[in-house]
Symmetry: C2
Subunit: 404 residues, 2 copies
């Protein structure tokens, strides 16, 4: 690889360990001494197109340690869908010029499925132009739906937060002799990985009574019967549903809006189900949406997740240094240890990995105990935080140096 | 005080340290050797009326340590409004008989404003009957609206969770170049203590842009102007609102239902405000309701709050042993240290302590820095947790022994 600069971009929704991935990239890039400068795009692809970069080459070890515990993209993110080259050739030549102008020899792109599609398109385009820049995907999504990796950094910490929170909600909703049917909505448009993580709390015997994933068609009548049965028996019932639960008519929680990727906007499954319970069963309800804290709650990071995020970032740089391009760093497990590997970006791009049906009970309302063999290693271990004013101290990105 | 049994009841909404208060009572009751048995009512007042008690006299130190870190009423709670003696004399004679039958010489009642009213009615009735049972209130509410105590156990931990979560939400909502107006709804029907705790995150420079408490009349037009201004300047805006914000027409988030105390049911302020922003300003929004985790998140307890909850519980028993009755244990601060005192129950019952207006900015949309002098000591310090399966290990109340 010729000498030049490394550019990292953060893309898509954030996670609690997205900056840990960045730290893996930055630290390895600095330590390898293979690059002149280590740059981070401000607001992901938008920063690339505007040539708006931070120079992070001289971040200290203690700054990087703090960054690795800080949630949400410290350098800014984007929701940017790169058009196909045949639809907009200009944008590709722009990107090429920008990378050339700033002598970028390695582009590390940190994101989920949609971001890996963008990353793949750039990699394929650059390969055709023979411009020597190695393009490497760094996996990141709380959804855990990226193919080709045992799990995806971000998922472990989100799962730890969700399992902890549902455990605490389970305790709270059981305190009255006559309680309610509580429906807790969890992120996951197409896949139920995060919702399935509630089964960790079930293992501790403080989990939801019923768990519904988008992988099974949602049967409203069956849900009403099942939740009423639990309620009549226990005096309360806790239900976990993925935001993306759907039936033949579409998403249960859909409204009319589409997002910038033309995905249906979700966010109302718990509310809709609670309205149905009130109407059909006349039982008191409470809808809870775990919302953004699911992906942002770095105050309860999974140590494994944080370390693996850093490992993946480090591995991405190592792949580039071995002159690989068009690949995504990935995780395989060997004897319970994390080993990094890589898969072609085109394989990761736009594919979706669902929760295998062998983890879901016959009645579609429970997660089988075998799932814990998968998820427990991903949520175990805690990260020691620094506290200031009684709350976690996080990295201050307002003092980052711009690259001029 | 004559020899007999102590009975503890947990009442009202739960907190993250309600069991720490119980541990303070139980441990002191055991250590004082002044009681034959230490009992806890199953489901609060309902358990008293049904003579359904747990015998906790032989809980071990390590069981009590774990209980003191466990959220939500381990013995069950109730929402029970005791009628006035003139409206229902029978219930009072029932209670008297039950206390006599089980030789209860001390009743410790752990709750908030409504519960202190119940506690006060029992204390006054028993005083009239000359039945020798000392009735002591133990303060508990996340709302912090009990009068006569510097702060209320439960508030510190809820504040720590809220400030941490709003800090993480602030980081998450700032990652896009063009973001949204995010409205985060926080518990607090009549008072804004919990919402004001967001100002801890402001001190760390990662707090909400605007904070609205029920103590000031909510001006919808001003809210729209203020949030649009922030959004136009920063590209995103984070607003914290108490669930109980109201104007001359009533609660912003009201719906038609009343709860068992004939309080208006709330829970929609953030949603309503987001709908207004969409409609009037055409800006993307997100409503977040912090919901039950605010009071249940024992995974991020305030050490001070937990210790003070135990101190108050301990002090309640000491008051009874000094033959006091009809009082509530309370907290005063002296040189930053917690000192326990007591106030007459009738003073605490049904009174509400609001956030003083000197803590609220002129424009009604910010909390002044002076408030941090009050709240910081209450959120500082962390409690070491035990983890099992990657999530906090909590007290298992299914193995509690019933008193027969």
């Amino acid at each position: 690889m010729k000498k030049g600069n490394l550019l990292l971009a953060q893309s898509g929704g954030t996670t609690a360990v997205i900056n840990a991935s960045a730290v893996g990239v930055i630290r390895q890039a600095i330590q390898s001494k293979a690059f002149d400068k280590v740059l981070c795009a401000h607001f992901g692809m938008n920063g690339i197109l505007k040539e708006d970069f931070f120079d992070v080459s001289s971040l200290t070890d203690s700054q990087l340690d703090l960054l690795a515990k800080t949630p949400a993209s410290a350098f800014g993110s984007c929701r940017y869908k790169l058009p196909n080259p045949c639809d907009n050739a200009e944008i590709y030549s722009n990107i090429l010029e920008i990378l050339q102008r700033h002598n970028i020899v390695c582009l590390a792109y940190n994101g989920g499925n949609d971001s890996m599609d963008t990353c793949n398109k750039i990699a394929e385009y650059l390969a055709k132009t023979h411009y020597p820049c190695n393009v490497i995907g760094v996996p990141k999504t709380v959804d855990n739906d990226l193919v080709g990796t045992h799990y995806c950094p971000g998922y472990g910490s989100a799962s730890k937060y969700i399992a902890t929170t549902i455990e605490e909600i389970a305790l709270d909703t059981a305190v009255y002799e006559k309680g309610r049917i509580t429906v807790c909505e969890i992120m996951g448009r197409d896949t139920g990985w995060l919702t399935a993580a509630c089964s960790v709390a079930c293992k501790a015997e403080r989990g939801p009574d019923l768990i519904f994933l988008p992988e099974r068609e949602f049967d409203v009548d069956k849900f009403l019967t099942q939740s009423e049965q639990v309620y009549r028996k226990k005096g309360h019932c806790l239900v976990a549903v993925a935001e993306g639960v759907k039936n033949a008519n579409g998403y249960i929680g859909a409204d009319e809006k589409l997002d910038s990727f033309n995905h249906v906007q979700l966010g109302g499954a718990a509310n809709k189900l609670c309205s149905l319970v009130s109407l059909k069963l006349g039982i008191s309800t409470r809808a809870i949406d775990l919302s953004l804290p699911q992906r942002a709650a770095a105050h309860i990071l999974s140590l494994r997740d944080q370390q693996d995020a850093m490992l993946c970032g480090k591995h991405a740089v190592e792949l580039a240094l071995r002159d690989k391009s068009g690949v995504m760093a990935a995780i395989t497990f060997a004897d319970g240890k994390t080993v990094c590997s890589d898969i072609p970006l085109r394989q990761a791009a736009n594919s979706v990995k669902s929760v295998p049906s062998e983890y879901i009970s016959q009645d579609g309302a429970h997660i089988l105990p075998e799932f814990c063999d998968y998820v427990l290693p991903l949520v175990e271990g805690e990260v020691q935080l620094e506290y200031e004013y009684g709350i976690p101290r996080y990295f201050d990105n307002t003092k980052l140096k711009k690259f001029i």
